[in-house]
Amino acid sequence: MDFFERIRDGWDKHRKPAHEDDFDYAWTMAIDLDICTGCGACVTACQAENNLPIVGEEEFARGREIKWIRIERYWEGEFPDAKLSFIPMMCQHCDAAPCETVCPVSATYHNQDGLNTQIYNRCIGTRACAVYCPYEVRYFNYTSHHWEEPLDQQLNPDVTVREKGVMEKCTFCIQRIRQAKDRAKDDGRRRIRDGEVQPACVQSCPAQAMTFGDRKDTQSRVAKMINNPRAYRVLDELNTSPSVIYLKKVDADAP
């Protein structure tokens, strides 16, 4: 009897959808499009922090560039009323991520911080996740890249260098989160303080358009940003429930 009870409990437990409440943290990024100037500092910051390869001109021309965060640009109108808006696009760390379910080897899954993680050395390179991702922020290593001497001396020792045939993407600088956690543990704190950890892109943003934090902590800056009336999520209709919140651009021309 006891056996069946265990089965039933297990069943109930595992039938419950994986939910934000189960996470230790719910890392969230808020990006204010009203002040994003599209300068590209975040792109370089990410490249430096996460050992993104320099693919070279012809690989770039073939569309094999690897930019975990990219600036998308959208025009409205024609001269003289042309308007240009930028939107930084990186892995949205969806809570209902299509990429996770499709990986046959569980190389990508949702970790306890609500992060959409990518396990490089588990990846077999079916590239299905990249197809399933509606934001197209997963980048594939079409070949092994190398760094000209002595550029390799810059490589960040906290982040691996990916080999050919592996999918990679934004991690919200998980290595920094990891360090922050250790630090919190050393200081005998249970949780990371708000603002204590910043991904490279957020850290570098000259206009401070980006904010990073834990939305489970209602006092955090990012939690406030979510309450901002301008907050929205890109392609929300796809119900991927991203963890990246964008704040609408303000159109001053309108009355």
Partner: protein, 138 residues
């Protein structure tokens, strides 16, 4: 023995019963349960929350179960066939190669000479092309 299956011969010789369908059924059922157990078990033992779905996700696991149902069904059927058809042939049995071409043969097990004569008579009157005696080692 015949080069082609002969419809209705069972009726005459009257042994219609076969265990194959049971093999198939049992195999399929086992396969189905095993399939679901495999999928669900894996999910529970190696917890990887994905896409905000529950750990045990019914629809995909049913597909796995479905495939394994068929797989085991097939294997069981094949097994059942070999067992019930007494194949593969372990020890030598009487065999008339011509039957693999265009001859039809009837084997009658006789334990003594008189019996053989008797059988031969019956067969030849039935219009057998040829009757011959084959010794079978015990």
């Amino acid at each position: 023995m015949s080069p082609v299956p002969i419809e209705g011969v069972e009726e005459v010789l009257g042994k219609k019963f076969s265990v194959i369908k049971r093999f198939t059924f049992v195999g399929a059922v086992c396969g189905g349960m095993l399939g679901f157990a495999l999928a669900a078990g894996t999910a529970v033992l190696y917890l990887h929350p994905t896409g905000g779905r529950p750990i045990i996700t019914i629809p995909p696991f049913l597909i796995i179960a479905y495939e394994l149902t068929i797989l085991f069904g097939i294997l069981a059927t094949v097994l059942g066939f070999f067992l019930s058809a007494r194949l593969p042939m372990i020890k030598e049995r009487v065999y008339v190669p011509a039957t693999a071409v265009d001859k039809f043969a009837v084997t009658v097990a006789c334990d003594s000479q008189p019996h053989f004569q008797q059988a031969a008579k019956i067969l030849s009157t039935a219009g057998a092309g040829e009757v011959s005696q084959l010794e079978e080692e015990a």
